[in-house]
Amino acid sequence: MSLTVLNCGYVPLVDCAPLIIAKELGFAAEEGLELCLVQQPSWSALRDMLALGHLDAAQMLSPMPIAMSLGLGGLTAKIDALMVLSVNGTVFGMSKEVAQSLQAPAFGDAYALRRQLGEAGLGTLRVGVPFHYAMHRLLLSYWMKDQSDLAIEVVAIPPPRMADAIAEDRVDAFWVGEPWGSTAVMRGVADLGLTGRDIWAFAPEKVLAARNDWITENPQTVRRLMRAVYQSARWLDQARNKPLAVEILARSEHLNLAPDLIDPAISGQITPRQGASPVAVERFLMFHKQAAHFPWRSQAAWIAAELGADAAQIAQAKLCFRSDLYRQNLAPIGVDMPGASEKIEGHMRHETAVASSRGHMILGPDAFFDGKTFDFSGDT
């Protein structure tokens, strides 16, 4: 049987693991796909290549398809998220100088860190993020919304240069995906203060994206791709597979990272300071558990709202997260489906059993650090 060639763009970060594993362990080939992973030098380049038809699908930062579909900047195109590729997995770190001006807030204490940053008399905090339309920037601005003692200046910096940027005093802090936070810690130029889940316990970080018209024209390929990525994500989230996953990712030509840089994100063992013991961060990075890959319409709505969208745009954004295709393509292979495609974002403080097609789905927690909840069900 000849395989259907599918060109899929990615940026070399640990959380592109579901794509690499889908290829290397043959989940894609089992679905009749030859998955060609095409590395991209920047998110801008990846977006152009997808929008202009040089890629069939791509790993994207979760706000990108929404910003593109709503025409918010850069390049306008109808791009959808087929499923969520990863939940959480980012870190907030500070220069040694900034960290030393604080009273050692506990790692992961969003309130204490925010208060101490405000009281440190820094004036302006320059924070490096990878891209404008990134969950990193949205979590940062959500966290700092009510903080009036500190001005935040956001600077976009390619993740592999984040450690250099902080070492060269071009930024005071960063919000970045792994392995670039751990890299800065290993180099001794930064201390970590938070992980993404300390702001939002269940933030969709990367999505599997494709052009809306391509999705309509290639239903079979879309189904195969979604199944392959689903199998890959399921394999990745099994505890016993993690050491092997690190090994495969390290050996893969697609990532070019040493195993000790890949391990923290996959194992959830995060070292906040050089010389400190690693801290076990639960749900640091999720691929499969708690239906991590389900593209909730309400997640899209939250992102759109944070980007400043109005009610009509929020309704449009919801349609970019294709929970309809997720149901249609994955239910036949026995994947458990939640009863609804929207939830009240931030409502679950703990793991919660919810109604599902097979009757045993555990979701959450998905709470925000400040306890706020977001119900977008009235907006459609």
């Binding site: 030098p41 900047g73 976009a156 910096i157 592999p160």
Partner: protein, 194 residues
Amino acid sequence: MARDLSILIVEEDAARARQIIDALIDAGWNDVHALAQTSALERAIKMHDPDIVLIDVANPDRDTLEHLSLISGTKTRPVAMFVDQTDDDLTQAALAAGVSAYVVDGLQMNRIKPVLETAIARFQIMRQMQSELDAAKRALEDRKTLDRAKGILMRQRGMSEDEAYKLIRKTAMDQGRKVIDVAQALVTAADLLS
């Protein structure tokens, strides 16, 4: 036609930057500046107030540039990547040549197009020169590797240079591999054993 656009080029490699500047100046644009480091990008944009920013598609600093254009909040800064749906050929040609362009909102197509066409032509020439240079370098490397492999056989097996080359070539043919791959394997093995 009045060629009074302000153009900013973001390019780390000074030689490449000079080539693009020369091409644009030769074609009649005078207000052309190049910038090597994106850490100074914000200042440069304020100072030159460009109508068009040109940057290599593969430059990782594009994300920095995009963020700046999105937060500038003014209509007088380059705001969006140039994509014209009505002139898909030009967009695709730019992408293929490796040029991305950011233009101020509302700038007319007939003013953008000649700039892009000039840049595309120059990028194509540079790309071709680069691939020729890469090919020449690779050929030189291959030649060195093959010479070393032959030297090893001549020393260890007492062969003439011609016999050594024939043995490498025969091995390559028997194994369905390239001559250079066999030579490389031999050199690697010899390095490990020495």
